[in-house]
Symmetry: C3
Subunit: 349 residues, 3 copies
């Protein structure tokens, strides 16, 4: 019989996030204890197990293999992969204009260890780099198209002149293969969270990776008091169910010290709605689509509809490793263990 | 020509809820009147009609058979079936601790008359029994696993120590076949509505039935003034489109006297969103995920996303039998009449 | 290299909306400029291109054909088609009663140029005509059924006596082929936006077109200050992804002068959720399901769940042609260009 009392003796001692796959093992040592004394019958990776299973007769994993698959994939978290999306893009300065250079190109993008998919990217990453503006900035976005087909750029949520809106043949021309397109405008939005993405053959182009986050920062530096500011962009389609371009166990955890106030900028450019559930602590929803809610509210599950942006605050009061995942369970778990839209919010002592 | 004026002479005289399938007939007598004088061409049950239809040539029901199918299934409502979910679980007292005992086991669960499906249950019922705590309680939940595979228990929305969070290999070990697991903690949440469910092979286990409601009651007894408190948990998957484990016409109506204030605790553990529409009266949304909304609002259709809990109040001002159903119509109706996620909110004089 | 500065010299000079398909070309002249100098390899319509493509070997359009398809369909917007839905229905006056006459019948409904689908309609249009009441009105709705099968009418969101609620065999009898049904009631709702639709074999009947809008106007004439009042009803199913019964490019744009305050009454009677994204300007959500929000909020993407009604206000501050579309991209775009749930919000100087 396993007995877990409310003492903190088993609470995980978190040790930092740089160590890669080995990290999960140390986080998870306490609760994996029981498994150590009762090893599952099969070793190897989830892939090997799947292979074993498919040569069997039942078409289903045995209970022991289900457990082993769950354990194996968790112990890989956070798994190292090549490439990281959503990194900030440092602008060049041209007089009083901040210049952001984007290049669309196809790359082999590793969504989880060993699985590379042809992605269409801004600057070789999925999601594209974060464009970070300040209220009132004069900005120039220069897009060079190195894809085989035309593209465009739409600034989703930003006030821009109609002819820079990026809807091909409605507001902007397509940017053909090899061409460069320039959009220059003054940032008129108040502080908030927005997006940029292709608006040409968009179902294909966005689901393959052509989307990124735009942040408008306040001129006066006023914030919600957050100690961390984290962008999370969901997608589904050609690259699978992804958080910032990666599938579990290659998703990146959010790591905070107890007492921090973490701002999450949550958005979804996929085709499906994803109700994200945070274990352990609630989310305080403070902005929708870059507009402050007059009455923020708390929840622990937030339905991230395609196109919306939610700014939420999480007070890191509860020490531990907390799952943060889509509650459409098929987007997050199978007999082979957790996959896809799962990450962790880790609160350290 | 059928003329219905706004007099109340046809309003249904509701007579109580214990009478079972005969009840619907009495509720529905007034409006079935016309049918009595123009009987449809076919008698028998919806199943018999389906059988007739499948031997036909058109692949579709005739208009008369569509009507008859609709009538037949409504007249069965509320249909008697074996087993009832969401019943309260009386705790045992061990000193200052309330002890709740859960046993997971497979049972044949009757989702509608004559249709039994192998369900995975807590204590033999779907949804599992309601765990009702009071703020500040010291509680112990003891889970014995009599399934063939491992499981776990996650307290969705509750503040618990990380090692009791139930995510296997992340926060808690799997509870293997035959094992017993104990979680003991102090109830730190404010009053509100939460859930418990498996977090291991969860897509399989939850959709087969392993989920239940947790209610945290106020220490000071303060409520919204409700005269009834009703839990409604939706699910979709192995058991079909269900309300508290049953498909229409085996769903249970909500029955109130005129003037009552009914609190509904609505939640969804399925894979799909279900926008629930209440006929006749609006719902006042007062809490989300166990947190009071600073500004409650009214609606008559509420999108129940997987993982969320909504506490709503319905003032029973309108006498009659009011449909309460998912407005994704394929979850609620076909040529064979209403099915799945349909029930009624009945207001009696 | 294409350079678009923030000057307004390229902003579209909008010239009115009556000119039909030629209109789009004039709207879009500025941005189509580049294409004029680099014509795509193929002429012809999207249909011709699809035909070319299907005889090819790759199963995909070439980049030039993708561009051409996008251009072709945009230049058809707003395309002329036969029939228009959501027109107001003038009541007859019978003493102190306003009488609204509806006839259900099947018609060939042109959803986009050349594509006619058998629709089930109220008064020959999809969506049905708008029933516009004033608070406290005594109204009579007379429904004659000229379909081959029974139907019913449910007043979705309105306070009506239970026996007029339209759920067949629960609250109302089916209205059989050739029969006429009359519902007479006093309008007890406060001002707001509601619907009427079949509640018999409803999945079939609603998705084929049997739904319309009900507006309750204030007795005292008080509004939000809107200069325009636009109904937008979404549907998906037999008629495809439609806005007011039409697919892009046959959808009708919203056209406002700069400075106008446009009220949109948004609703969805389909089976899928449709997160609608307005380019250029935010929407202020002021009512849900006919109930004022105590704290209106702003957003640019609004998830329109089946059954809900949202009253939103758009301040027409930004001159231009702004896309207004479902952000589930498969409902709005493919390699063949935009389709389905796309229209434009046009702001003229």
């Amino acid at each position: 019989m396993v007995s877990h009392k409310t003492t903190r003796r088993n609470l995980l001692k978190t040790v930092g996030i740089a160590a890669g796959a080995g990290l999960a093992a140390s986080y998870l040592g306490a609760c994996a204890r029981k498994e150590d004394t009762k090893p599952a019958t099969a070793g190897g990776t989830a892939q090997e197990m799947a292979s074993q299973q498919s040569s069997g007769t039942s078409g289903e994993l045995t209970p022991d293999l289900i457990d082993k698959a769950h354990e194996t994939v968790v112990k890989q978290f956070p798994a190292k992969t090549e490439g990281e999306g959503c990194l900030p893009l440092e602008p060049k300065i041209d007089g009083d204009v901040k210049v952001y250079e984007l290049v669309t190109k196809e790359v082999d993008w590793e969504v989880k260890p060993g699985i590379k998919i042809k992605a269409w990217t801004y600057n070789g990453m999925v999601p594209g780099p974060i464009l970070r503006f300040t209220e009132g900035d004069k900005v120039r976005v220069v897009l060079k198209n190195e894809l085989e087909e035309s593209t465009s750029i739409h600034f989703h949520g930003l006030f821009v002149p109609s002819n820079l809106d990026g809807v091909t043949y409605v507001s902007s021309p397509p940017v053909k293969k090899g061409e460069t397109y320039t959009a220059e405008f003054v940032v008129r939005n108040k502080p908030g969270t927005h997006m940029y993405h292709s608006h040409h053959n968009a179902y294909e182009q966005i689901t393959r990776g052509l989307a990124g986050c735009v942040i408008v920062d306040p001129r006066d530096g006023k914030t919600f008091g957050e100690t961390q500011d984290v962008v999370i962009m969901l997608n589904d389609g050609a690259l699978g169910y992804t958080i910032n371009g990666k599938q579990f166990p290659a998703t990146k955890p959010i790591v905070a010290k107890k007492g921090e106030l973490v701002r999450l900028r949550l958005m979804n450019v996929g085709q499906l709605y994803h109700p994200f559930h945070l274990h352990g602590m609630p989310m305080k929803v403070v902005m929708i689509d870059g507009y402050p809610l007059p009455q923020p509210y708390y929840c622990d599950t937030l339905s991230l509809n395609p196109g919306n942006r939610f700014d939420v605050l999480v007070e890191a009061t509860e020490v531990g490793v907390w799952a943060f995942h889509c509650h459409v369970l098929t987007h997050a778990e199978s007999q082979q263990g957790m996959h896809g839209m799962v990450t962790a919010f880790i609160v350290q002592e």
